[in-house]
């Protein structure tokens, strides 16, 4: 075929378009994340969410705000839904609101917030302030942060749920604190969600909290899946074991996430990140084969030994 200037330009444009679209099509090929049911309603939700502790607290910095928006864009593009924040997380709430606004308010969003104040009376105005920061008509989930003033705040949240201004009620703790009280609340209060720390080395929740969540029909959100980056930092120079390849993982983060997600009582894990490639990697871990109980023990033992 004779190459004319016109055919050359057409071919060049086609090649450029193909090159531009290639990353998108590759990402589009990524399998959608697996979903689990929220026991109280049966609603399904992707098993990997997005935390915002430290990572989204970037203040008014326009460059860093746009980077957070890129992370949120990649999260939604990869099939993610739940974003979790708290009034305790500095500027994370307005930064999430900025990103949602810039992304055209994705309909996939499952908004998970917290109430964090020692004053019962200050709870409702704080929740309203958080809602304004996010720019959402109402939250999907509000949790009592770190069990602070939990009795009064739970009553507020139950009233909001009854009034239709909130869909789900939850309670949180982290780093293994106050599991006895958490267990008591899980037994006695009609909560939809519970959030606590659980990862490949912090496995106390397996003894009581996770089985109790199944028994009581409470959805479980797992925070600190990588111990705030400490585990991934510790393992960054260690090679992935060959036997991990059968799970289709390419990083320690994915292997450790699969450990968490393969527990049948876990509904969502919420790793936080500032990097687009990491959020894609996290969502990718929610698809494909999951470790069986024997493999879970092997992963945990291997990481603890390193």
């Amino acid at each position: 075929m004779r190459t004319t200037r016109r055919t050359f330009v057409q071919a060049a444009l086609a090649a450029t378009a193909a090159a531009t679209l290639l990353p998108i099509s590759l990402h589009a090929q990524q399998k959608p994340p697996a979903r689990r049911r929220i026991p109280s309603t049966g609603e399904e939700i992707p098993i990997v969410g997005l935390g915002s502790w430290i990572t989204f607290n970037v203040g008014d910095d326009p460059v860093l705000r746009d980077e957070c928006t890129d992370v949120m864009a990649a999260f939604f593009e990869a099939g993610g839904r739940m974003i979790d924040s708290s009034p305790m997380y500095g500027s994370s709430q307005p930064v999430i609101g900025y990103g949602l606004q810039k992304l055209g308010r994705p309909s996939a969003l499952f908004s998970a917030e917290k109430v964090w104040t020692s004053s019962a009376a200050a709870g409702p105005p704080q929740i309203e302030q958080s809602r304004r920061f996010w720019g959402v008509p109402k939250f999907d989930l509000v949790q009592v942060h770190n069990l602070l003033t939990w009795k009064a705040h739970l009553q507020t949240l139950f009233q909001m749920k009854a009034a239709g201004t909130l869909r789900y009620v939850g309670i949180t703790t982290s780093e293994g604190r106050r599991h006895d009280l958490l267990e008591q609340i899980m037994r006695n209060e009609p909560i939809d969600f519970v959030q606590f720390s659980y990862n490949v080395v912090d496995r106390e929740a397996e003894a009581r909290l996770l089985p109790l969540a199944t028994e009581r029909g409470i959805a479980v959100i797992v925070n600190r899946p990588f111990r705030q980056g400490a585990l991934t930092n510790r393992l960054k120079n260690a090679p992935l074991p060959e036997w991990a390849i059968e799970l289709g993982v390419s990083s320690w983060a994915q292997l450790m996430l699969k450990f968490i997600l393969s527990h049948p009582a876990v509904t969502v894990a919420i790793p936080a990140t500032t990097r687009v490639e990491h959020v894609r990697e996290n969502l990718a871990a929610a698809a494909g084969p999951m470790p069986d109980p024997a493999m879970r023990e092997r992963i945990s033992a291997h990481v603890k030994a390193l």
Binding site: I54, D60, G90
Partner: protein
């Protein structure tokens, strides 16, 4: 706070080092070239101490007062508090320090004529705050953009105040000490928790100042019968 013994410093760190240092970059960019003025003010303080330690005291306290109030409002309240809600409670302390200095300026309640070893330590700390602290950013590979400058950033302002108080005399001197001391402790702990090597700067300034005060106290008590 329940189970408070299980909390560590890292549990209270709400931001990453990158966000922290970019905050200084944005603050410097927003205020430039005010840095020239604040550094000139610092130089004027040194010249007044050297040549007019008695009559210039009122102006030294005034310059320092304005610096504290300005840093408290512009940096702590308007910028740092956006990523660290606890700083909203610290910013008023900077204004309190400024107001105390203003009162002492109006009362002419300070004299910057203390000399001897404590005074020399004071000069050393003051020189570090004005000329050394701004160099830490480029020396650590962060470039000049995130430099901390006296009268613009809290650390050099608090460190300079520690140095100045070693050079000062006055009945109300002790009321000026707690806020810069507490700030240096807080800043040093924050930097240390972030794993930043320059955590040594506010802590070393504090240790040097403490050595100066202890030396002064021992000397005063030792000379008590003679005086």
């Amino acid at each position: 706070m329940s189970e408070w013994w299980t909390y560590r410093a890292v549990n209270f760190l709400l931001f990453s080092p990158r966000v922290y240092w970019r905050m200084f970059e944005l603050h410097n960019a927003a205020l430039w070239p005010l840095h020239v003025l604040t550094l000139a003010a610092g130089l004027i303080i040194i010249l007044l101490i050297a040549w007019r330690p008695g009559t210039g005291a009122r102006w030294i306290a005034f310059i320092l007062a304005i610096s504290w109030i300005f840093v408290g409002w512009s940096f702590l309240w308007n910028r740092y508090a956006t990523i660290n809600w606890a700083v909203a409670y610290v910013a008023p302390a900077f204004v309190v320090e400024g107001v105390l200095l203003l009162i002492l300026s109006l009362l002419d309640g300070l004299a910057f004529d203390r000399r001897g070893p404590a005074g020399w330590i004071g000069y050393l700390i003051l020189a570090f705050a004005l000329a050394g602290q701004p160099l830490l950013a480029p020396l650590q590979g962060r470039g000049w953009a995130s430099s901390e400058v006296f009268g613009i950033a809290p650390d050099p302002t608090a460190i300079a105040t520690l140095g100045l108080l070693l050079l000062a005399r006055g009945r109300l001197l002790p009321v000026l000490l707690p806020i810069p001391v507490l700030w240096c402790l807080l800043s040093g702990m924050t930097l240390r928790t972030m794993g930043e090597p320059q955590a040594w700067a506010p802590l070393a300034a504090l240790a040097l100042a403490a050595a100066g005060w202890i030396w002064t106290i021992i000397r005063q008590r030792g000379s008590w019968p003679v005086a």
